[in-house]
């Protein structure tokens, strides 16, 4: 206790010291400002245009800097850090190729509304526009995939810009903000005066909802016979999971949570129907299609959720709660729009919400459907099934882990078979579907949660897109447990080629993948391989108990598909139920 107080005090002391006005370089302003924004960890990669910044970081210890092996690793790690912690993730890259290597990660964060502050170097202001060495117009390149961006022209602007960037990234609908700092600006000496106020004239997100609209929703609930809640990532981002829980318990409305909403509502509860959409549960999809009231809370009606829009929730009155007014009515016409912060809206609604009394028959029908049609697969004792592996991971980790995934079949199986009861325990690239995201994002999640078990579930394809970051796990002893579901093929692509392209398997064979155990070993990370259930459980338990990072490769059945499946262009009740049926 004493030690903790001492840490707190020293942190405040550090900040107090940094707040003193002083003539320093732009680079030092950047570092001080980051500390004042409570940044604890930065992921980055140096280069010519950020040398002044890295020079200022020499011996600097007020936040951690992790040197990744690729800028893509840095930004996905910052993203994982942000999603798992709720704080702003920060990464630094140099100009030109360093900055462009961030693009995939920025787009990933933008699509999923993840708060990031991305700092890039640029060539000196005198060279901008001359096609100078390692020059790229990164603010121009990233304009469509950032919430906002800055090209800093003088060091004196830095304190304001950095403070604004953090504010913009982490308020309203969250998202990545880019700050591009030319080399001469990072070297320029100026008087540093910290900025604590923020005033951006064109930026005032609506947090408080319109009370009349909320009342309309409550009235609709009292009239509904078949209501359903569709909750998304916005619940997690607003920190409104407890309010959501109260809302569901009070109203008794069945709830389905989108891919990014997993963990926003405890998966074990009766009213939870699982995930909707392309690989969602039968009950979730069918319930949406027969509902007479659909309350969307912080989800954006992504096409992977809605299927064919024209036939989506055809009988339902639509309520849409979102902090971003542009989402309302974008895809699905809305009867009752509620613009506001999810948590604030639910707090207001919870004061008056009544039990949806007319929905008793509906609840009974849904409960029966849930029992009758859960996710199913045919287990095997000959071959390792990926679904079984996920279930085993869930059992052995007691559902307490933070799980990050890459993109593909393993991602969907993880979403289906690992059950989440807490928000910020599920980190996945939903909107952009970014392969290579799974492993580095786990590094960030682990940095944000040093005491929790972090499992990174990957396919053999995606793992090879950022495998080099095993180095930083080994060097910094970041104890991420890397799972590779190896089916020796690009599984989701194979599934589509099988079902939609008439079994024409084109360029999906991943033969020639490295021996992942040896690869882990080469980086100084413990590696395990398992091909049977016995081996799998034993390897996993050993890996989990190993104090450092570990890679566990599960060699699974090659021809396994993700079911149920709604093919593109179908309505979500047109489900292919698959092998288990």
């Amino acid at each position: 206790m004493v030690a903790q107080n001492a840490t707190l005090r020293s942190k405040e002391e550090i900040k107090e010291n940094l707040r003193k006005p002083e003539v320093i370089t732009g680079s030092e302003i950047l570092l001080r400002s980051l500390v004042l924004e409570d940044v604890e960890c930065v992921f980055g990669y140096p280069g010519g245009a950020v040398l002044y910044i890295y020079d200022a970081m020499h011996g600097f210890s007020d936040f951690k800097h992790l040197l990744t092996r690729h800028e893509q690793g840095a930004i996905h790690a910052a993203d994982g850090y942000a999603r798992a912690s709720g704080k702003v993730g920060v990464c630094i890259a140099t100009s030109g190729p360093g900055a462009t290597n961030l693009v995939t990660g920025i787009a990933t964060a933008y699509m999923d509304s993840v708060p990031l502050v991305v700092i890039t170097g640029n060539v000196a202001t005198t060279l901008i526009g001359t096609d100078a060495f390692q020059e790229a117009d990164i603010t121009g390149i990233t304009m469509p995939i950032t919430k906002h961006s800055y090209l800093v022209r003088k060091a004196a602007d830095l304190p304001r810009i950095i403070h604004e960037a953090f504010h913009i990234a982490n308020t309203g609908r969250k998202g990545p903000v880019l700050i591009d700092i030319p080399k001469d600006v990072s070297a320029e000496l100026t008087l540093f005066e910290p900025v604590t106020e923020v005033s951006i004239r064109g930026y005032n997100p609506t947090v408080q909802p319109n009370k009349l609209q909320v009342d309309k929703m409550l009235k609709a609930i009292s009239e509904a016979e078949r209501p359903i809640v569709l909750a998304g990532g916005g619940v997690v981002y607003s920190g409104g999971h407890e309010e959501l829980h109260e809302f569901i318990i009070k109203s008794g409305i069945p709830i389905t949570t989108t891919l990014l909403g997993l963990g926003a509502f405890p998966s074990g509860e009766d009213l939870w129907l699982g995930m909707p959409g392309m690989h969602g549960t039968y009950t979730a999809n069918m319930s949406i299609q027969s509902a007479d009231l659909l309350i969307n809370i912080g989800a954006r009606f992504d096409d992977r959720v809605t299927g064919k829009l024209a036939g989506f929730a055809p009988h339902a009155k639509i309520v849409h709660i979102d902090i971003d007014p542009a989402e309302i009515g974008k895809n699905v016409p809305t009867d009752i729009p509620i613009v506001g912060d999810v948590k604030t809206v639910l707090q207001l609604a919870n004061k008056d919400v009544k039990y949806a009394a007319k929905a008793d028959a509906w609840r009974a029908q849904i409960a029966a459907s849930k029992l009758e049609k859960p996710f199913k697969y045919q287990d095997s004792d000959e071959e390792l099934k990926p679904q079984w592996v996920i279930e085993m991971l869930y059992e052995e980790s007691k559902g307490e882990a933070i799980v990050t995934t890459d993109v593909g079949q393993h991602q969907m199986w993880a979403a289906q078979y690992y059950k989440f009861n807490k928000p910020r325990s599920w980190v996945t690239s939903g909107g952009l579907g970014t392969m290579g995201f799974g492993f580095p994002s786990a590094i960030g999640a682990q940095m944000a949660n040093p005491d929790r078990l972090v499992i990174s579930i990957n396919g053999d394809g995606g793992m090879q897109m950022c495998a080099q970051e095993l180095a930083i796990c080994a060097i910094n002893n970041i104890p991420v447990k890397v799972v590779i579901i190896n089916n020796q093929v690009l599984g989701m692509v194979r599934q589509w080629q099988e079902l939609i392209y008439d079994n024409r398997y084109s360029h999906i064979d991943l033969s020639g993948s490295p021996d992942f155990v040896k690869l882990a070993d080469a980086y100084g990370v413990r590696g395990f391989r398992a091909s049977t259930k016995e081996e799998a459980r034993a390897a996993w338990i050993e890996a989990m108990n190993h104090p450092g990072p570990a890679v566990v490769e599960f060699v699974v059945r090659k021809h396994e598909n993700v079911y149920p499946m709604v093919t593109q262009g179908s309505t979500i009740d047109q489900m292919i139920m698959g092998d288990a049926e």
């Binding site: 603010t139 304009m143 469509p144 090209l151 609908r173 951006i200 064109g202 930026y203 971003d324």
Partner: protein
């Protein structure tokens, strides 16, 4: 497909035009014309954008514009009684014999001749888009050498909004 004229008040910052026009491009919104200039307040620019689309598209255009941090205000001008003006410079073939006839058109349109060459006239015309279109049509028979139009700038009439 309706035609809409909107005014977008933005921070006078480098890159703002790119942010706005880029947004239209990547969201599949159409820009018929865009004009940018200073506004009544220092530090703010006023863009007037003419776009086409149904009401739902217009609603999305406005909502998406508001998401840009540098956008202060968006006004749907064409939802109100509005004055919309465009300026065009037309360099038209004009041998001395044809000049009186061209001058007649110019006077009727309350346009002006702003430059005289040996074989051409430069005509300046101000008005709404339809008036400019009509003027251009009338000049075509003489042979238009160069044409430059500014795009629409507009305001709501009187004290409305």
């Amino acid at each position: 497909m309706k035609r809409h004229t909107i005014a977008v008040i933005v921070n006078d910052q480098p890159g703002v035009l790119q942010r706005v026009s880029g947004l239209f491009g990547r969201r599949g919104f159409n820009i018929e014309s865009i004009t940018v200039g200073t506004s009544e307040e220092a530090g703010l620019s006023r863009m007037v954008i003419v776009t086409t689309g149904d009401d739902k598209t217009l609603e999305q255009v406005i909502k998406q514009l508001y998401k840009l941090i540098d956008v202060i205000k968006v006004v749907d001008l064409s939802a109100n009684p509005m004055v919309g003006r465009e300026l065009a410079l037309i360099k038209v073939n004009a041998e001395p014999a044809a000049r009186p006839e061209i001058m007649g058109v110019v006077e009727t349109f309350r346009a002006a001749v702003v430059d005289i060459g040996t074989h051409s006239l430069m005509v300046q015309v101000v008005g709404d888009t339809e008036k400019i279109d009509a003027m251009v049509e009338l000049m075509k028979p003489y042979g238009i050498r160069e044409l430059s139009r500014t795009g629409v700038t507009a305001m709501i009439r009187g004290n409305a909004k």
